[in-house]
């Protein structure tokens, strides 16, 4: 469990905020790494591994900062490998299983379209460390968005089958996208402290990007406004995360205090 003793309200929120960023990168990076060697083409194997690699690199930066803020003498690795699912703060969207390449790239696209304007805003964060990490991650996110958009457009427009599969992926994942814009007290505190942007602004930018590119992809935006929640505040993850962590954490949990 993460305890918040000896911390002011603001520093609690900052830790929570930084953990969310780190866990998003870790969980999505892990999902992408599950593709290893089984992509639909060699170029895609390389690109999937590259995306995973970027995200694990971002995880290292965010979780190292979270560990410092926490002040309990833990490392980024301790946070990644020794926390239980209930302590994770990733979006539910990102723990969704890969299912097929269409789901994987749609999940990536919906997240990238958020991550690009979000990180761009963070580059002028009042917290210098947050700004630095965002600047470094932002370049990668822009490239990820370019790639995931191209694929969503191509496969949405491609054949009858690829269109159907991309529409299925969009329909299935749509109700998870809204959690990115659910504003809670941490988001409000971060916005008030000029550390992070107003999520309403990011939502508007996300809508523009997503609508325009899904139109190009000839995909229909689902009508539903229902939003699955519980990942970013850790209140209720889905069953998928526990299985992911059981795999990911097995060595650290089985052989605690070892050096690898």
């Amino acid at each position: 469990m993460i305890t918040h003793s000896n911390q002011t309200a603001d520093s609690r929120h900052l830790l929570e905020f930084v953990l969310r960023q780190g866990d998003n990168a870790l969980v999505l990076g892990h999902r992408m790494s599950e593709w290893c060697g089984t992509g639909p083409a060699l170029e895609e194997d390389i690109a999937l591994a590259n995306t995973a690699l970027d995200l694990i690199g971002q995880t290292q930066m965010w979780l190292a900062y979270a560990a410092e803020l926490e002040g309990r003498d833990r490392s980024a690795n301790d946070l990644a490998f020794m926390r239980d699912a209930t302590d994770f703060r990733n979006l539910l969207l990102l723990e969704q299983p890969n299912r097929d390449f269409g789901h994987t790239m749609m999940r990536q696209f919906l997240f990238d379209a958020y991550q690009v304007p979000f990180l761009q805003a963070l580059e002028s964060s009042a917290d210098q460390r947050v700004a630095d990490i965002a600047a470094k991650s932002g370049r990668e996110a822009r490239y990820h968005l370019e790639r995931s958009s191209d694929i969503v457009i191509a496969l949405g427009d491609g054949t009858e089958e690829s269109h159907r599969r991309m529409q299925d992926a969009l329909d299935r994942l749509w109700s998870y996208a809204g959690e990115m814009f659910v504003t809670d007290e941490t988001d409000i505190a971060m916005h008030n402290a000029a550390i992070a942007p107003d999520l309403k602004l990011i939502h508007a930018q996300w809508n523009d990007t997503v609508q325009a590119r899904l139109n190009k992809a000839t995909l229909a935006v689902p009508d539903s406004t229902f939003v699955h929640k519980g990942g970013k505040n850790g209140v209720r993850h889905e069953e998928h995360l526990g299985h992911m962590l059981a795999t990911m954490q097995v060595l650290q949990r089985s052989y605690p205090n070892s050096v690898w």
Binding site: C36, F101, A154, G158, L251
Partner: protein
């Protein structure tokens, strides 16, 4: 490395007298150390042997992602996860260079994949062994990449230009992978009792399969002579194997690990290590498809390919539509 038992013409090396004028000119270019380029004339058997060799090498890179992919999701730290991801990504990149090199000989990547998936072409026997603990990620880097480097460094001077150039890039990355693997082994050997046991166990399981990577003894390798005359094979299997043992034995000692061979000892007379041959029966069984992972590896690749069909078709269809739209607009 990753090319074993590559068939050549099977008819032995032609003497100068048996060659026609074109073949003689070709052989003298090779003897003079010139590179053969894709548009140059070459004997059909040279082309065919190279396609087999480069194809087998490329397939090995691709299938070789799988035993390591088996541990990417369980890597014990973020740094190790990132290193392993980068390594596997390099391997996919090596596959890409090599398929491109093979394409210059007139065979497409799809054709080569088809030959892999239907079992007409092989990949290195080493990838039919399972990776059972994290120490195997160390052993694979240290021994398997180490063995690969032994063979690939000389191949940078191979006679076929595109292959030689691909090899230059590949060798740089492989030696980095080997160091990374050795570092994992070192960390495990300096770690807890359980970690050191894992390291020893990994060496026990990977030692002989690594020796097999060089292929059977020269006296049993019917295709070597012609490939060596063409400079698409630079050293004999036995020479490379000996070089590998000479380099690796002191490293094992440094790690405090025991190579699972009672006969292994430094011979003062030859200034080389004596060692036991691997079990060649096992080697031939693995080549026939009876290794512990042959079926799983091939099925994984076949499934990846068939699951990806709709993606490749979708991408192509979209590209066609765009091309048509551009033509209409123009």
């Amino acid at each position: 490395m990753y090319a074993q038992m590559v068939k050549s013409s099977g008819e032995g090396v032609k003497t100068a007298g048996e060659m026609d004028a074109q073949e003689r000119a070709f052989q003298s270019r090779i003897d003079a150390g010139e590179k053969i380029e894709p548009k140059d004339w070459m004997p059909a058997a040279y082309r065919k042997t190279l396609i087999r060799q480069i194809g087998q090498h490329a397939h090995s890179e691709i299938v070789g992602q799988l035993p390591e992919g088996n541990w990417i999701t369980r890597a014990p730290t973020l740094e190790r996860k990132a290193n392993l991801l980068a390594k596997v990504q390099d391997e996919a990149g090596h596959g890409l260079y090599l398929y491109c090199a093979a394409e210059t000989l007139g065979v497409s990547r799809d054709e080569l994949f088809d030959m892999l998936h239907t079992g007409k072409m092989k990949y290195s026997s080493i990838f039919n062994y399972p990776t059972l603990t994290w120490a195997d990620m160390g052993a694979v880097g240290w021994l398997v990449d180490g063995a690969a480097i032994m063979n690939q460094v000389p191949l940078q001077r191979t006679s076929y230009g595109p292959y030689a150039r691909a090899m230059v890039r590949i060798c740089k990355e492989e030696s980095f992978h080997q160091r990374q693997g050795f570092h994992i082994m070192m960390t495990m050997c300096n770690g807890s009792v359980a970690q050191k046991e894992m390291a020893q166990d990994a060496l026990n399981r990977f030692w002989y399969p690594s020796l097999m990577m060089f292929g059977p003894s020269d006296k049993d390798s019917v295709h070597s002579a012609q490939s060596m005359a063409w400079k698409i094979k630079m050293d004999s299997n036995d020479d490379l194997r000996q070089r590998f043992v000479n380099a690796t034995a002191p490293q094992a000692e440094f790690l405090g690990l025991t190579i699972p061979d009672d006969k292994l000892a430094f011979n003062e007379d030859t200034q080389q290590y004596d060692f036991s041959e691997p079990d060649w029966e096992e080697f031939y069984e693995v080549l026939k498809g009876n290794g512990p992972c042959n079926r799983d590896r091939l099925e994984t690749r076949q499934r990846a390919w068939s699951d990806g069909e709709w993606v490749r078709e979708g991408m192509m269809a979209h590209a066609d539509k765009r091309r048509n739209a551009n033509q209409t607009a123009a």
